[in-house]
């Protein structure tokens, strides 16, 4: 609990996760309407888990009456002792309440969540790689066109005594400046785009933007420019 207190069992009180309170722009003492009933926010909690921090909680009795499911539960979280065997406890529950309860062990859940996260990370990396490749091809293509269009200019520079190295440096410099500018514009547009998605949709996602992330994006852009400049010179 980062603010306020837990809810009472017999009052219309609710606690909210930090992300939910930010999204709803509510603080301790404010009220929210749930199924037509007004509930006072008594506390804000933060678990570090985005899903849990994007919801709220109220007493079991109140929740059951809201759902018109008095005396019934859909799910029971069971906390086992440190030395207990998860599989034995899980099987024990099923044996004790045959046909009434099924169990999902947390370990399996975590494994599944972990697998999903890994999949998301892999997909994210693949998309990033694709963006780098497409961006790189774009930069190289732009620079090749630029070199082609400037064949006469490059010829003049050679005629007046510029060394090939100097001309290459000039094109490389232009390529790096172009990619730095493109990188900065890309970062700004990226942040604006994500903010817009979060604002105009109900997703509980939170934008995490760090200078390290921006520097990494800029670094990749510069790398593509440094590689793309000389390639365009060679091809052009």
């Amino acid at each position: 609990m980062i603010q306020g207190n837990p809810f009472s069992d017999d009052k219309n009180e609710v606690i909210l996760g930090k992300l939910a309170s930010e999204k709803m722009k509510k603080k301790v003492g404010d009220t929210i309407t749930v199924n037509g009933g007004k509930y006072t926010i008594t506390g804000i909690y933060e678990t570090g888990n985005k899903e849990l921090d994007s919801i709220g909680g109220l007493s079991l009795g109140k929740l059951q009456s809201l759902d018109e499911n008095e005396g019934k539960v859909d799910m029971i979280y069971v906390k086992i002792n440190n030395n207990a065997d998860l599989k034995t406890v899980s099987q024990g529950v099923v044996k004790t309440y045959p046909g009434e309860l099924t169990t999902i062990s947390s370990l399996e859940d975590f494994q599944r969540a972990d697998d999903s996260l890994q999949m998301v990370e892999t997909a994210s990396m693949a998309i990033s790689l694709l963006a780098i490749v497409i961006g790189g091809i774009g930069i190289i293509n732009t620079m090749i066109m630029s070199v082609f269009e400037r064949t006469r200019e490059i010829g003049v520079l050679k005629a007046v005594g510029w060394k090939s190295r100097r001309i290459l440096s000039m094109i490389l410099g232009e390529s790096v400046v172009l990619t730095i500018l493109a990188g900065l514009v890309g970062i700004i547009l990226g942040v604006i785009g994500i903010e817009a998605i979060i604002t105009f949709s109900d997703t509980p996602l939170q934008l995490i933007f760090t200078p390290a992330l921006a520097l990494r994006a800029l670094g990749i852009a510069i790398f593509v420019g440094v590689i793309g400049g000389p390639i365009s010179c060679h091809k052009g």
Binding site: G155, V156, K158, A159, V160, G161, W162, K163
Partner: protein
């Protein structure tokens, strides 16, 4: 240099398209230091190829070519030679359109030990010489044909070259502007004792030179 000759060419041969097109077919030529020479000939006679060889813009297949004490057939990197010894004036001026007149004049000075301020001061002086100081900040697209060619002359003088090579410098100009450019080049030759080698197909323009060399089918006519 050889006996006061700034250009000494012996049996110079150059061909293109795997030898099918013979541009130069055994040229022997000597040009004295400070001389004003015009090279005439019809289109395709080899006069521009000869000029490009003297300016180290192209390499020879056979023969020897010595310019300002440098054997161009032996040297591999000729960029320093072009930068310090040569000034080029092309028919179509070949200025860089997105740079100002002043910046165009400074281009040959890069890599020659000038500081930025020195480059600008020298470029302004050269633009003053060609009577374009007041248009130093203008881009070539905002200048007339004659003015562009005068900027090209200023650019050719940027590194105080020993030789100025002009390829049809008045070819794209009207007669009034053409005369003005020729007058500037002649003054330059007389005042600075610069060796001036000019390619033209106009006999009247060629007549302004001290000596006229006629090139036909890749050979000098005697």
């Amino acid at each position: 240099m050889n006996n006061g000759n700034i250009v000494d060419i012996k049996n110079l041969k150059k061909s293109y398209d795997n030898g099918r097109i013979k541009a130069l077919n055994g040229i022997d030529l000597k040009i004295r230091e400070g001389e004003f020479v015009s090279i005439i000939g019809p289109s395709g006679s080899g006069k521009s190829t000869l000029l490009n060889m003297i300016g180290a813009l192209d390499t020879a297949d056979e023969g020897s070519i010595q310019v300002a004490g440098n054997d161009l057939t032996l040297k591999k990197d000729l960029s320093d030679f072009r930068s310090r010894k040569m000034g080029f004036i092309f028919q179509l001026h070949n200025l860089i359109p997105n740079l100002s007149a002043l910046e165009n004049v400074t281009i040959p000075m890069y890599g020659n030990g000038y500081k930025s301020k020195q480059m600008n001061e020298r470029a302004l002086k050269l633009l003053e010489y060609v009577k374009l100081k007041d248009k130093a900040a203008r881009n070539p697209t905002k200048l007339s044909g004659g003015e562009r060619q005068r900027v090209a002359i200023a650019r050719a003088l940027a590194n105080s070259p020993s030789i100025i090579l002009a390829d049809e410098p008045t070819g794209s100009l009207d007669s009034k502007n053409g005369q003005m450019i020729l007058q500037r080049l002649k003054e330059l030759h007389e005042q600075e004792n610069v060796t001036l080698i000019m390619v033209t197909h106009d006999m009247n323009v060629a007549a302004m030179a001290e000596r006229t060399i006629e090139v036909l089918d890749g050979e000098i006519q005697t």
